[in-house]
């Protein structure tokens, strides 16, 4: 555990973290970019989830749609991750003590697991059903859970702003 806290302290005590804390415009700027990126992440994931639920893009094979959308999702996720980490490192100890932050990180992991389970197990026979307007139950469940997890992630993110002491 001390390795973890050394790791946290290394980032929190860095000059960069100090700059983000002290500069009046840097944190809002990073946060604004985070919002733009996360909107693209969540919005694009919802489109894929709605396809899995059979509610949108029903004429487009699931695999084709996923190949088109996921590069956008991952590109935006990289930006959201970097900006998120920059905000985190500016006040790491306080964020780790915030229940909504911890919940958000857990939910991100769960959303990731849901995606891995879908890709590795549920979508093994994708070519057999990807053209169906309404995919099999296991795919619809993956889509429904994904929407649920991402709504919770955004809600936790918003609640962090209301429960963290101002800088």
């Amino acid at each position: 555990m001390s390795l973890f806290w050394n790791f946290i302290a290394y980032f929190e005590d860095s000059a960069l973290a100090d700059n983000i804390r002290e500069n009046d415009n840097l944190f809002p700027l990073i946060e604004s970019i985070h919002v733009v990126a996360l909107c693209l992440v969540v919005g694009s994931i919802f489109m894929l989830d709605l396809r899995l639920l059979g509610l949108a893009s029903t004429k487009r094979p699931v695999g084709r749609l996923a190949n088109a959308i996921l590069p956008v999702t991952w590109g935006a996720f990289a930006v959201a991750f970097i900006t998120g980490f920059l905000m985190f490192m500016s006040n790491a100890t306080k964020y780790l003590a915030n229940g909504y932050f911890v919940a958000k990180m857990c939910l991100l992991l769960i959303a990731g697991l849901n995606m891995i389970v879908f890709h590795v197990i549920s979508a093994r026979d994708l070519p057999q059903w990807e053209k169906q307007a309404s995919p099999p139950l296991r795919a619809r469940l993956a889509g429904a859970f994904s929407i649920l997890f991402w709504i919770s992630i955004v809600a936790c993110g918003r609640w962090i702003g209301f429960t963290m002491a101002p800088h």
Partner: protein, 167 residues
């Protein structure tokens, strides 16, 4: 104009609805969460169509089909944004109405709506409209570029409202 908005803020802040929303601590973050999730849907939809104008997304699918999939959803979701946004204004009128960042956001929103409607209407007039010749392709890409910048500006301004509010 600002004097008028200032009067309106005072009046709104004195309404019982404003008081009720302010008193129950969970309402504002909940409204903001719904607002951000709706922004995510509108923003991702607009961005994917803009990327398609540059042939960076779903290039093997005809443009009218891509637009038909992503653009119509924007309008009903904008109504949700208008409703949650209005409630947020009623709750904290001085935070937004007399805030120049909020006013900029509203101006950008009008421009974004015009740009998105322009893309949709061109294709509605004739399916090949944006791809019929070099001139239309360039015009389409200019509209798409403006759309990417203006929608991103709306999100950036939206987050920045919190940092420029009066008092």
């Amino acid at each position: 104009m600002n004097a008028l908005l200032s009067e309106l803020s005072k009046w709104l802040a004195a309404t019982s609805l404003s008081h009720s929303i302010q008193t129950a601590g969970w309402i504002i973050p909940t409204l903001q969460t719904i607002h951000i999730l709706s922004v995510a849907v509108v923003f991702a939809s607009a961005m994917l169509v803009d990327f398609r104008m540059f042939r960076l997304f779903e290039r093997e699918v005809p443009l009218p089909q891509v637009m038909q999939r992503f653009l119509p959803a924007i309008w009903p979701v904008l109504v949700i944004l208008l409703l949650t946004g209005s409630l947020l204004i009623i709750a904290e009128p001085r935070r937004s109405l007399v805030n120049s960042t909020f006013q900029l956001k509203m101006l950008l929103l009008v421009i974004a709506i015009v740009l998105t409607a322009t893309l949709q209407r061109g294709t509605a007039a004739s399916p090949a409209f944006w791809e019929q010749d070099r001139g239309h392709r360039i015009a389409g890409r200019l509209v798409a570029t403006a759309s990417i910048l203006v929608w991103s500006g709306i999100l950036l301004a939206g987050r920045w409202i919190a940092y420029t509010q009066a008092g």
